[in-house]
């Protein structure tokens, strides 16, 4: 039982960091282990923003092995060297926590090859690459993660987020949502449910050169959609295909640079409440998530089984 939330402002920007925090905080009872944000911020759109981690949060509740912080610095140096050898020009770097960084950089080559090389360094994982995507995930509730990464000031057009209750994999950042749609810039996915044909799909996709960083079944959705899109499908086509390609129960959101989509499995086994108006779409696992940003009386509904919807900004 995880909680997912998403919103998209059409035609304008808003304080999506604070709005998503309010929605995810309302869903805390559905997932207290970790919280993730995928915010599509009002950046200048010129440079890539890469968020990556060089270690795990080993705080209270974590299932990761405790490491000395000096190891993190060494890994960061290795990443810097790798970036240099790949020809990426780092314009700005921020150390957010001892184990996670945000780089603004210029890079014009293939992102798949780039990611593979960066992630060949031990325990280094790229959380996201994108020109507007800011993907943050860490242990703790929505407020704690917001404060830790100073997300309250982020303005943007749309966002998706996740409050995770760890079930089939550990309490750590690598298994936390959202998942980046590797190797596509600005694609992220959050999921509520269980996928039962994870290993079959994983083996098939790995044979096609796709990468999995965790053993979390939800990661499959991001990789599945990325593979479809790499072969020329649109996001909506990939999502419709996933209804039969993925087995199990799920409701998931996927966001790209300029769109936000939702898909619900054919059994309608996982909850989703949706509010749709001309300038705002807000959705979440429970009505209270929507009410946390729209306290006035509104009309909401549950999408039906097998429904796929995509909204543009």
């Amino acid at each position: 039982m995880c909680g997912i939330a998403g919103l998209i402002h059409r035609g304008k920007s808003s304080n999506v960091g604070n709005e998503l925090q309010a929605m995810l905080q309302a869903l805390k009872h559905r997932g207290p282990d970790s919280t993730g944000y995928a915010l599509y911020a009002d950046n200048d759109g010129q440079n890539f923003i890469m968020r990556f981690k060089v270690g795990e949060n080993v705080g209270e509740g974590s299932s990761s092995i405790n490491e000395d912080e000096s190891v993190y610095d060494k890994r960061k140096e290795l990443v810097d060297q790798m970036l240099k050898s790949l020809g990426a020009k780092v314009l700005k770097e921020e150390k957010l926590t001892p184990y996670s960084y945000r780089y603004e950089m210029q890079y014009d080559e293939d992102l798949m090859d780039f990611s593979k090389k960066i992630e060949s360094i031990e325990s280094v994982e790229i959380l996201s690459i994108g020109k507007s995507l800011e993907l943050i995930k860490d242990l703790g509730d929505a407020q704690e993660v917001l404060d830790r990464y100073d997300l309250g000031k982020v303005r943007g057009t749309h966002a998706i987020g996740h409050a995770r209750m760890a079930t089939e994999s550990g309490v750590d950042i690598k298994s936390a949502h959202p998942f980046w749609g590797y190797p596509f810039s600005d694609v992220s996915v959050v999921h509520n449910g269980q996928l039962t044909n994870y290993w079959n799909n994983r083996r098939m996709l790995e044979n096609k050169g796709m990468r999995f960083m965790s053993e979390c079944d939800s990661e499959l959705i991001a990789v599945y959609l990325a593979e479809k899109m790499r072969n020329g499908a649109t996001l909506e086509e990939g999502m419709k295909d996933s209804l039969s390609g993925l087995d199990g129960v799920f409701t998931y959101f996927v966001a790209t640079k300029d769109s936000l989509g939702m898909a619900k499995d054919t059994m309608a086994a996982k909850p989703l409440v949706l509010y749709e108006s001309d300038d705002l779409v807000a959705m979440g696992s429970e009505e209270i998530a929507i009410r946390s940003i729209l306290p006035q009386e509104i009309d909401t509904y549950d999408p039906f089984d097998g429904e796929v919807k995509v909204w543009q900004i």
């Binding site: 059994m267 309608a268 086994a269 429970e286 009309d299 909401t300 039906f304 089984d305």
Partner: protein
């Protein structure tokens, strides 16, 4: 073997005379003494006056506090309670076992008005999953849409949604009537055992899947029939009954009832009919 007659410590039930055991060669159990009947009362119920009306703003209360407050107001004799600002909170108005006029000015979250026995509830907004689960009696009217598992395991009463509902409406239904003015999702009437469902709009796939008994009436298109759900001809008594129910529900005034599809159980999934009536009751 211990002689229960000489056992000094009695359980609460025994001290109330509900459950006495006497060893006279064989154990005799007496679970209910009619002489004690006047001491019985239905725990948690109140005599209320419908003319006593009060507003309750639950914006700053959590669901436990709000439900306790409703209980407190009923104990003071308030018979019409208007809940303001429910804001999608879960489990509001549950476990009310007496007559009451309960009005929600807003939307409820999950498990709203569950396990009720008697009240008349009007919800001006929307409800989340599992609204009125296990309702025994009463009437619940929802002005907007409802989530999945609408009226799960209801045993009696009328449950009315004027908008559309999610999947698995009337799952495990054991009695009563569910009326939906709009569309319904997949698995409507899944494993239903008794009672009736009326859907004026379209329904999704697997309608009435694995139903044991009961009847589903559909006004619109049917996605597909589930296992053991079959179509049955509409009779005049069906039409009359639906007409009466829709009038009570205040929806579908000009709806052509005679064109509705009636769905019942094929009763082929298990040997339901081979059972004696008493066994049947036990099975349900």
């Amino acid at each position: 073997m211990a002689n229960l007659k000489t056992t000094e410590k009695k359980t609460k039930a025994q001290s109330m005379g509900l459950h006495t055991e006497v060893l006279t060669g064989k154990t005799q159990q007496k679970f209910f003494n009619p002489d004690e009947a006047e001491n019985f009362y239905y725990w948690g119920t109140y005599d209320v006056d419908f003319n006593k009306r009060i507003d309750l703003d639950v914006n700053d209360l959590d669901c436990k506090e709000a439900n306790k407050k409703i209980d407190e107001l009923m104990s003071q004799g308030y018979g019409t309670i208007v809940i303001k600002n429910p804001q999608g909170k879960h489990s509001l108005g549950v476990g009310i076992l007496n007559k009451l006029n309960l009005i929600f000015e807003g939307s409820l979250g999950y498990f709203g008005v569950g396990s009720i026995d008697g009240p008349t509830v009007r919800i001006n907004g929307r409800v989340g999953w599992s609204c009125a689960e296990n309702m025994m009696a009463g009437k619940v009217v929802i002005e907007k849409n409802a989530g999945s598992c609408f009226g799960a395991a209801v045993r009696g009463g009328d449950l009315i949604c004027k908008g559309s509902v999610g999947a698995r409406t009337g799952i495990d239904q054991k009695g009563g009537t569910i009326i939906v003015g709009g569309d319904a999702g997949a698995f409507t009437g899944f494993m239903m055992q008794r009672g009736r469902i009326i859907i004026l709009g379209n329904v999704g796939i697997n309608l009435g899947d694995s139903m044991y008994d009961g009847t589903i009436y559909v006004g619109g298109k049917i996605g597909s029939f589930g296992s053991d759900a079959i179509e049955s001809p509409m009779t005049k008594s069906d039409v009359d009954w639906i007409k009466r129910k829709l009038k009570v529900a205040e929806i579908g005034e000009n709806f052509d009832i005679s064109k509705m599809t009636k769905v019942v159980a094929g009763k082929k999934l298990w040997n339901y009919d081979a059972l004696e009536p008493t066994e049947k009751k036990g099975a349900i």
